[in-house]
Amino acid sequence: MVNIPDDLKYTKSHEWVRVNEGTATVGISDHAQAELTDVVFVELPAVGRSVKAGEAVAVVESVKTASDIYSPVSGEITAVNQAVVDDPALVNREPYANGWFYRIKLSSAGEVDLLLSAQDYAAQIGRQQA
């Protein structure tokens, strides 16, 4: 069963966001890691880079394909998760915990409200599978 925690926000392109005091942590959903299977490489943005919502900022590669990761929100990258670079399979094992990708200081807090709730995201991937 696909895990979709209630306390996170999601994008149609399967990223998740956890907001804490103006900074968001970003990763990819359990559904996304299950679809990719066998993550073998993760490329993360440079700390300090300014990104816009919807911009391709990271790459995750499975055995089969390379997929872009789009930033759900705008702002400045404040930290990246070296652990997933060293051990890409963390993305498969712990997509919502130690498998996070980067942290970003929000430049426009209102953007978070435009993201999908857990319920909306569940409905979206349900539709996609149907």
């Binding site: 679809e35 299977t37 066998d38 073998v40 490489f41 590669e61 055995v63 089969k64 390379a66």
Partner: protein
């Protein structure tokens, strides 16, 4: 509308993730490419290869016709034997690569690529001009490949009989590499060949379409206690890439010759006239403009992918070719691939650079196959 194999329902039942391949809806994996890859290297894996085409060539002129149409020398095949061969155009470009089995003096079975069935049939019919009987039996047959070191322990359980045609054996496990036998299964004649596309021991089983699902289920049951797993095209691709078997549309196409691809040992220049012979003989003595090399990434890097540019190494590096197959090797845990480069850069041990998303990562030309079984 994508075509579905007789095992479509069985794939859904096992949770196969389906993708388009050569006009067919095929499983890319069931659980994970890496798990399925390791099952084949360490135990056993079962693949649906029903998308591949079957062509039956028979009649008194069959041998002569095939020897004029294919690069390898079919006269070398005794009944019940098969070999890898290629079909080329006049320029030596590859129309298809295939397996040819001689079943009897005047009967041959060709196993061809799914995406090339129409092209091959058109070309064979043009060349044949009515001499031999050439029949496209692709709709009549399905096929599975059962591959891995444990397969010899259970293949006879799934097919407990002696052969009644092809190579004469008491049981399928007595077949030697490249031998094929006809066996009776569920009142039906099936072909079992000791061949494969993974670099492991194993068998390919060609079965009338209506009986394929019972063969699939019979093999899964026989192999269950030996670690047999159903495997998708994802693992099929990583397995064949590790052992440098070509895939049509990647290493091979109509603009590429077997000599450039490093498949010269399957081109029998001495056998007499065949289509493409002059062009291939010229390349064999005069040299080629590009060469297919195997490479592995030197350090930690993103996996190479088809289409990525290849550069010579160093600050004054130039673009010398392009990647045609590339993946993360599950056996070696590093990026591997094959690509075409200018012949000066094809030396084993030489340095290359693979351009990945605008940055160049170092790679080394290695001897084929990239992966060898530990002894």
């Amino acid at each position: 509308m994508l075509k579905r194999t007789p095992l479509y329902g069985a794939h859904l039942e096992r949770g196969g993730k389906l993708i388009e391949f050569g006009g067919w809806e095929m499983p890319v994996y069931y659980t994970s490419i890496v798990e399925e890859h390791q099952a084949v290297r360490n135990a056993a894996g079962l693949f649906d290869i029903s998308h591949m085409g079957e062509v039956i060539v028979s009649g008194i002129a069959a041998e002569e016709f095939l020897n004029a149409a294919l690069t390898n020398d079919v006269r070398k095949l005794a009944p019940g034997q098969g070999h890898y061969t290629l079909m080329c155009n006049e320029r030596g470009g590859v129309i298809d690569d295939l397996y040819a089995y001689r079943m009897n003096a005047n009967d041959f079975l060709l196993i061809i690529n799914a995406s090339r069935i129409e092209a091959d049939m058109a070309w064979l019919e043009l060349r044949n001009a009515g001499r031999a009987d050439v029949k496209n039996a692709s709709e009549d047959y399905g096929a599975v490949a059962v591959q891995g070191p444990a397969v010899q322990e259970f293949i006879d359980v799934a097919f407990p009989s002696a052969s009644c045609g092809g190579t004469e054996v008491k049981r399928p496990s007595d077949l030697k590499k490249n031998q094929v036998g006809v066996f009776i299964h569920d009142f039906c004649a099936i072909y079992i060949a000791r061949t494969g596309y993974t670099g492991e021991d194993g068998f390919e089983v060609v079965v009338p379409a209506a009986k394929l699902e019972s063969v699939w289920k019979g093999l899964l049951a026989a192999g269950q206690s030996h670690g047999l797993k159903p495997c998708g095209l994802g693992a099929r691709d990583t397995l064949r890439t590790e052992v440098c078997y070509p895939l049509y549309g990647h290493e091979l196409d109509e603009q590429t010759t077997p000599i450039e691809a490093g498949l010269g040992s399957f081109v029998a220049l001495e056998k007499g006239a065949f289509v493409g012979r002059e062009a291939l003989a010229r390349q064999k003595t005069g040299g080629v403009g590009k060469r297919c090399v195997a490479f592995q990434m030197t350090g930690k890097s993103a996996p190479p992918r088809p289409g990525y540019p290849i550069w010579s190494s160093g600050p004054d590096g130039k673009r010398i070719g392009r990647v045609v197959s590339g993946t993360q090797s599950p056996s070696l845990s590093l990026g591997i691939g094959m690509g075409y480069v200018e012949p000066d850069y094809a030396r084993v041990g030489g340095s290359l650079e693979i351009e990945i998303r605008g940055r160049r990562a170092p790679a080394t030309v290695v001897k084929k196959p990239i992966y060898r079984k530990p002894v």
